[in-house]
Amino acid sequence: MHPRTLLDKIWSAHEVAAESADHPAILYIDRHLVHEVTSPQAFTELRQRGLRVRRPDKTFATLDHSIPTDARREAYVDDQARLQVETLRRNCRDFGVELFDLGSSTQGIIHVIAPELGLTLPGQTIVCGDSHTSTHGAFGALAFGIGTSEVGHVLATQCLLQKKPKTLAVHVEGQLGRGVTAKDLILAIIQKLGSGGGTGYVLEYRGPAIEALDMEARMTLCNMSIEAGAKAGLIAPDERTFAWLRSRRYAPAESAWEGAVTAWRQLRSDVGAVFDREIYMDAHAIAPMVTFGTSPDQSVGIQDHVPTDDHLQGALQYMRWQPGQKVEGVPIDVVFIGSCTNSRITDLRAAAKILKGRHAAPGLRLMIVPGSVEVKRQAEVEGLAKIFLEAGAEWREPGCSMCIAMNGDQLQPGQLAVSTSNRNFAGRQGKGSRTILASPLTAAASAVTGHLTDPRVFLL
């Protein structure tokens, strides 16, 4: 048989109808994840047409974007946010969709809880009205973000009209150095590809450096595939993947486990499979990365200087850098550790390693927002929460929080933050806000010193 890529295998297993000259393929969706912001208009569409949700058993919802992250969980930023939350609750009730609501032990950022619950499984197709759905590719699932119209399509038919994307293999040789994380790796990959360089492709991350990553790190990597414009990110599942998923709530039961794993072992690109494009990276050569501009591809190693290129002038002006300025040492106002990119237990452990026995710099605001109720519970059991509180951090409730800044958690105009989130767009974290994207290690180190800091000095 002709050697096939991982994408080929998942795609062909989900074709209700193949692509023709007149029509895109009809692709079946195994898991539809829903949140309050991109779903209300889709449910309205169903009501107007008298349609039901075709497969409520494959549809799962939570609240994450608009909700407060302080202890008063229903203290919404405004009535519109409250209405949006109430609307999702009503839609889930009316259409029979399971909702991981505020106050439950399963609530959290959708891309954190779905893997945690074992909803994300190898070989699946997964969609959500959220561009960071690419996260789930870490498990060898084809997962991508869709708009509200397509949310309606999946609710009504469990299918999408899709053209098959191209494949781009990202080979990463060697191993990441001490203090260098999956976040630094993906920022380096995005820098190499450019913010539109992955458009039309599914990125398959391969090679020794990828195989060495734990599942949380793989999620961080796949999460930001969209920041290179890619449709999705993919990593072939392996024994680490299977062990991570075993006995999670929605994962196959013990009686079916061996059968499932046997099937999942087939989910890798065959030897000799041809990719449309390939790039090579050397993990050894990557330093802790930070963004300096207003697009996620505008990054440098933390020991480097801000570039002087003419086309970056607008971004540098917005961010208030001098061309050629050294990035390390710039004073910062806020550190945000959270988001679907970096709010998992391993991220919090990394931050705690640096924050333990130390305190945030005077006047600096340090916000730590766990990705889910489960992550929060685990961090409290492990004593991480105590370390954070003693370091002067705000230890908040799970949600998207200051990554998208639509729930009231936001920067003041002009403030500069080091954030573990995924987008440094102008105004992303509040009107006039300035964002430096970095790893949890770099964020924690910078919180301690009050200026952008190479975390490796704390890890000697």
């Binding site: 989900h14 561009s131 800044a405 105004g427």
Partner: protein
């Protein structure tokens, strides 16, 4: 969905590259539960002062309500989040066509679902559009052509099914709902 055949319109140019959906519609405007009324919030942080007063010298404010139905923008327009609100806001302002050397995947898909026509042209043609200081552009979806005032034409590619839906003014949900039997048969066979 409104059908799209031909359009002749003046255009507004935003030459910046990588205009992301957070610029098109900031996240704080995503809390509404309906589609309508987002035109005022389009590019909000570019168009309004901190006190909410419109900036008089901002091009989108100067030309609001004047039948500019084409937006010409720099490379990688609509990158970033999946928010369909970006499309609704552009339509709310009055745009029916977006032209750029490249357009983000999810944005493009969202635009096509709503009757907003996304057109990718090559970089030299984009530069010639920008150089054309006054006048209109002519769009013909049937022929898949963009024509400059000078008469120069570039053809563009578009998914054939999406094109048909736009020409007929029908949305894609109806088609998918009509595939119920094939979907049911897949579910019995594969699940």
């Amino acid at each position: 969905m409104q059908a799209f055949h031909k359009l002749c319109s003046a255009f507004i140019t935003l030459p910046m590259e990588n205009i992301d959906t957070d610029q098109i519609i900031p996240a704080r405007f995503l809390k509404q539960t309906h589609r309508e009324g987002l035109g005022e919030a389009l590019f909000y942080d570019w168009r309004y002062e901190a006190n909410g007063q419109p900036k008089p010298d901002q091009v989108l404010n100067q030309k609001a309500g004047q039948d500019y139905e084409i937006l010409v923008a720099g490379r990688n327009f609509g990158c970033g989040s999946s928010r369909e609100h970006a499309v609704w806001a552009l339509q709310g302002y009055g745009f029916r066509v977006i032209i750029s050397p490249s357009i983000g995947d999810i944005f493009k898909s969202n635009a096509l679902k709503n009757g907003l026509l996304p057109i990718e042209v090559d970089a030299p043609f984009y530069e010639r559009i920008r150089a054309q200081e006054v006048g209109a552009l002519f769009i013909d979806l049937e022929k898949q052509e963009v024509k400059l005032a000078s008469g120069e034409i570039q053809t563009f590619s578009i998914d054939s099914f999406a094109r048909l839906c736009l020409l007929k003014g029908v949305d894609q949900l109806g088609y998918l709902v009509g595939m119920d039997e094939a979907i049911g048969s897949f579910e019995r066979r594969a699940l």
